[in-house]
Structure formats: C-alpha cells, structure tokens
C-alpha cells in the first residue's frame, strides 16, 4: 500500500469510527463476553449486563449460519432504538459489532410513521366518501320513489276532487230544482234537505282536497281583492243554512265594519276558512246554536265562530289542527282535513288562531288576519262578470247528461229557451245558422276541449255571450278560458241558487 493510500485509509477509519460509534463484543460460544471495545451505554447496555443483546444475537442467528459473516441492518433493540449488527465468526472467540444506526433510523421512523398515518387517513377518507356516496345514492333513490308516490297521490287527489265536482253540480242543482215542487211535503223536504247537506259536505271536502293538492305543488298563491264583507257572510250563511236547519240549530251570521273601505283579502280563501269552521261547528253541535261574527277595522279582519257543541277535550286541543286528526270528536263524521287547512291558510295569511273549548259546553275559534297587501298578489275586485244577453235562446254544451239536463231544466224554469247539444261540430253549424244569446260550455267535453270550441266560435264570428264552466277551478283554467274568448268562467259545482239569480237578472227584458 502506498503511503497516500495508507493515510486515506487511516483518515477514513477514524471518520467511520467517529460517526458509527461501534461497540465490539468478543464472545465465547455466543454466551460469554470476553472483551468490550466502545461504549455499551450508547446501545442501552447498563452495568455490564449483556444478556439481552446476546439473546438477541442468538435469535438472529436462528435459521442462519453462525460460521458465516452476517449483517442485520436496522434492528430494533428496544425503545425504538435501531442498530446494525454484524456477526464476525472467529476462532476461538467470535465478534459482534454494533454500529450506531440511529442517525438514519430516527429520521426513517418519523418519515415512515407520517407516511403510513397519511395513507391510513386516505384509506379512511376513501371509505367515508364511498359510504357517503352509497348513502346519497340510497337517499336519492328513496327520494325519487317518494316523489313518484307523492305525485301519484296528488294526481289522485286532484282527479278525485275534480271528478266530485261534476256529480255535485247535478246533485245540488236537481235538489234546488226540486225544492219549490216539494215544499209542501215535510217528508220529502227532509230528504231533500239531507241531500243538500251532504252535497255541501262533499263540496267542502272537494275544495279542501283541491287546496291540499294545489298548496303542495305551490300553485296556491294568495290573491287579494277588495270584497264586500256582507257578501262573504251571505255566501257562507246560504251554504251552511240548510245543514243547520236540518239539525234544528240556530245559525246567526253577523258582520260589522268600522271603516268605509272594503277589506282587501283573498276572499276565496276566507270563504274556505269560514266554511270549514262553520260546517265543523254545525257538524259537532247536536243542539243549541252556532254564531258567526265577522269584524273588520281597516287593518284586521276578525272571524269568530262559537258553538254549543260537544267541545274538544284539553288533550286534543294541541293536535286538533293537524291533518287527518279526528281523535277529538270520535264517532262523528268528517275527513279531518278542514281545521288543518284552516291553520295552513291562516298561517299563509300571517294570522293567528285562538281556540277555547270545554267538553259538553262548546267551542269558540277566533281568527285574526292582518291586512297585508304586500304579502299577496293584488288583483282587481272580484265582481260578477258583466254580460249582456241579446236573446233568451241558450245553447248548453256538456257531455254529462245529468248536468246538462239540469241546466236546461233550471234555465227553462226562469224563462230561457235552452237547447242541449253534445256534438261540437253540430254546435258550430247551429250557431252559424241561428246565433243564440248565450252558450254555456263545459271545458271537459271528452272528445274535445270546450276551450278549443270556444276559440273556434269566436273565430267563426260568434259575438254572443259564452260562459265556460269547469271542475278545474284554478287560475290557469280561468286565464285559458278568458284567452279563448269566454265572457265568464264558473267553477263546478255550481251554486245553483246564486247562478240562477244571476241568470235571471241577465234575462233579456228582465
């Protein structure tokens, strides 16, 4: 070896000895330490106790060859200290060399711990995301299924309530027609009264069902109009009176306004609220009276319905306004929708409801509604459509024979000359030949839409009056009727007494 090489080797040896801080044990038969070079304390060996490291080396040699030089890097010697161990076989004694691997071991441990923890967190994150996606997919599927059920239910309710209106028009109309003819016979009058009462109940139910369907799909905005309080009171009284009379109950409807101006509310909704409250009061009152009071002070409308009925037990007073809750008046009929709709409407109008009731004494429900023009969609005052009928000849177009014949009969009774037609094509020909003063046409004619026929009538030059009526009492149908050229829209079931009174006024020469 050259001198230079010798110098380099010496320097390198010193450098490695300083950096690796070796501990060299010379051992006899792997069990007895003969000599020690280096600092045992650096390797956790205290008080000359080499038992543990000798045991470790013996374990490391299991499966290996003790006659061969062997190295085991990065061995954990306890307390997360790491070392490299070199086994050097020799005669008569062997050597074990420990070198300080802690420098790289410590750093490696930290790096690996961090990497593994990150990987574990990623595994958990992926799992959580998968689970959340599964939950989301499940919820979406359930929501879609529920939506379908919901849509079906609403369509069913809509169809049912619509289909109730046409036969109700017949029932109410024929009952009204029969009334003057049966007035002298008390038995048949009672029967007629029962028919009218039940028709009123069904009509109310149909309105409630329709409201539920409309409220659910968001198509029931409030429409404010100036309206006559007296008219509202009269309407409600005329509808409920037959029910009250049938039960021999006294019905008092009283109204009062402290200001000159007309109240501005959605009068159709007010009517619905009142009809539900008053018909409930009549239904659950066996004897005594039902008082209805309407008060308007320029800012608020107060409606109070007081009865001497069966009352509501205190445990039911909290839940009486929940839908389909009939527990409070067990044994009585009723769908249990009325009060929930009242509550819904009152809340929509920003009002309050107060209930006072005692079992066996009676019930008082008071509703206070603020006049909040900003919260509603103001429209022009609802008045009777202005019509001028030039001739008493009327053509009625309805594919429901009962309704059609009832209208023919009723209008004939008050002085019109009605004619019934089913075929729209024949109608157009008839009108062209001899235009009538008025055409009353149903929207749903089965084969064709009454609205399309109305439009055709106008396009053909018919200038007489057209009244469109339909079981679908909604803004869309009303607007479509107007756009088609109708002069008036009437909703089924027709309030026959009111309708006939109106028609009477319109009779040419009346």
């Amino acid at each position: 070896m050259s001198k230079a090489a010798s110098v380099v080797q010496g320097a390198l040896t010193r450098f490695l000895m300083e950096r690796s801080k070796p501990l060299i044990l010379t051992v006899f038969r792997q069990r007895q330490v003969v000599s020690v070079e280096g600092d045992p304390a650096l390797y956790g060996i205290r008080n000359g106790d080499f038992g543990a490291v000798l045991e470790l080396v013996r374990n490391l040699l299991v499966g290996g060859d003790a006659e061969c030089l062997t190295v085991w890097p990065l061995v954990d010697i306890g307390n997360r200290r790491h070392t490299s161990i070199l086994w050097v076989p020799d005669k008569p004694n062997d050597h074990i060399i420990f070198t300080d691997a802690e420098m790289c071991g410590e750093e490696l441990t930290e790096r690996q711990q961090a990497a593994n923890e990150l990987a574990l967190a990623n595994v958990e994150k992926s799992k959580t995301i998968r689970e959340l996606k599964a939950v989301r997919d499940e919820l979406q599927a359930k929501s879609a299924a529920l939506n379908e059920i919901h849509k079906f239910q609403r369509r069913l309710i809509d169809t049912l309530s619509h289909d109730l209106r046409t036969p109700l028009t017949s029932i109410s109309g024929y009952a009204a027609l029969l009334e003057p003819h049966l007035a002298e016979n008390p038995v048949t009058m009672r029967a007629l009264s029962a028919i009218q009462r039940n028709a009123t109940y069904l009509k109310n139910l149909a309105e409630n069902l329709l409201h539920l369907a409309a409220a659910d799909n968001g198509s029931a905005p409030l429409l404010a109009h100036p309206f006559a309080l007296e008219q509202l009171a009269e309407d409600v009284e005329s509808i409920i009176r037959p029910m009250a009379d049938g039960k021999r109950l006294r019905l008092n409807v009283d109204w009062h306004s402290t200001v000159q101006k007309m109240p501005v509310f959605d009068d159709l909704r007010l009517r619905q609220i009142l009809l539900n409250l008053v018909s409930n009061a009549v239904r659950y009152t066996r004897e005594g009276k039902v008082d209805v009071e309407l008060r308007y002070d320029g800012d608020r409308l107060t409606m109070r319905v007081t009865d001497t009925g069966i009352g509501i037990a205190s445990e039911y007073q909290e839940t009486i306004f929940e839908p389909l809750n009939r527990g409070a008046q067990q044994g009585c009929d009723g769908a249990g929708l009325g009060l929930s709709i009242v509550k819904q409407l009152v809340e929509q109008m920003g009002g309050t409801i107060a209930l006072q009731s005692a079992v066996g004494v009676g019930t008082r429900i008071q509703i206070v509604l603020p006049e909040r023009a900003a919260a509603v969609e103001p429209v022009a005052a609802r008045t009777e459509p202005s019509l001028r009928i030039q001739s008493e000849r009327v053509i009625i177009v309805d594919d429901d024979p009962d309704v059609a014949e009832m209208l023919v009969w009723s209008l004939h009774e008050i002085g019109y000359l009605p004619q019934l037609m089913h075929d729209p094509a024949a109608l157009l020909a008839r009108v062209a030949e001899q235009p009538p003063g008025l055409i009353i046409i149903d929207v749903d004619l089965g084969v064709r839409s009454g609205l399309a026929v109305t439009q055709e009538l106008r396009l053909s030059g018919y200038t007489g009056s057209i009244i469109v009526f339909s079981g679908a009492n909604n803004t869309n149908t009303r607007q479509a009727a107007k756009a088609a050229g109708a002069d008036a829209f009437l909703a089924k079931p027709l309030d026959m007494p009111k309708f006939l009174a109106w028609m009477k006024r319109l009779l040419p020469g009346a």
Binding site: L56, V62, G63, W72, D76, G105, Q112, N116, A119
Partner: protein, 166 residues
Amino acid sequence: MSEARKICLLGDFAVGKSSLVARFVRNTFSDKYLTTVGVKVDSKEVRLTDRAVKLVVWDLAGKAELDSLNKTYIRGAHGLMLVVDGTREASLRAALYLWMQSQKQLAQVPVVLMINKLDLVDRWEVSAADIERLSESVPTFRTSALSGEGVEAAFASLAQRVTERP
C-alpha cells in the same frame, strides 16, 4: 433446550403485525399506532403436545411488496405469517402478493394467514366467502390483537407445522 424456529410476519402497513406479536409474546395491547422500522425480533417458547419449540418472531416493517431489506430479513425463515387487516380489502391483496414474492426467496415453508381486527368485524371488507376460499389453500385464522381471539391458535398452528419439517 428447545429447538428454535424463525418465523417472519409479513403484511401491509398498519395491519396489526406488531400488535399480534405484543399479544402473543407479552400478552399486551396498545391502540396507539407506531410504525415498525427495519425489524424487531422477539421470541417465545411454545409448548406442543410432544415437545416445546422456541419461536423467534421477526416483525418486519409493513410493506405491500417485498423490498430489499425485507428480502434480507426473511432469509432462513422456517415459516411465514401473512397478516391482513379485515377492514381493508387491499391488505389481503398485499399479503398474497408478499407471499408470492417470498416464494422466490425461500423454499416452500409453512404459512398461516391471519385476518386481523376481528373486533371490527362489522367494518370488514374481506368477505366470508373469500376467507372460506383462502382457507382451502392456507390455514386461515380470524384474529384480534385487541381481544387476543385466534392469536395463540394461529401461532400454535404455525409452530406445529414448522417443527414437523426437518
């Protein structure tokens, strides 16, 4: 003095190899995760029906594949324990891959498979059907280092098999 056998624990990181060794050798458990660097060697004498055997257990750093360091460590092993985290399906694939790689380093040595974390069985991704299928080709144990369930049985099974070989 009982004969000694070297067995190595192989498996992906954080499957519970060190916890299984701690349960087997010292009957302890810690739920704090500390990664193993390099190798940690422990031993325990196992009594079999006709003799006792000292198992020298090499707890290797968890990896999804056999690196050069672990190849060095498994040299001369008499048996292998493949450890899987039942809650991580990927750790089963890693164990099977490690087994395949180890066969290039070792002659055919006895192997047992431990599907660990039985205490979290409701979160297991490894299916019962997969375990059933695997148990047809390799002795398979459902284990929990936390409760100790299945741990002794798995080590005893491997101890029996490694002592049956010369």
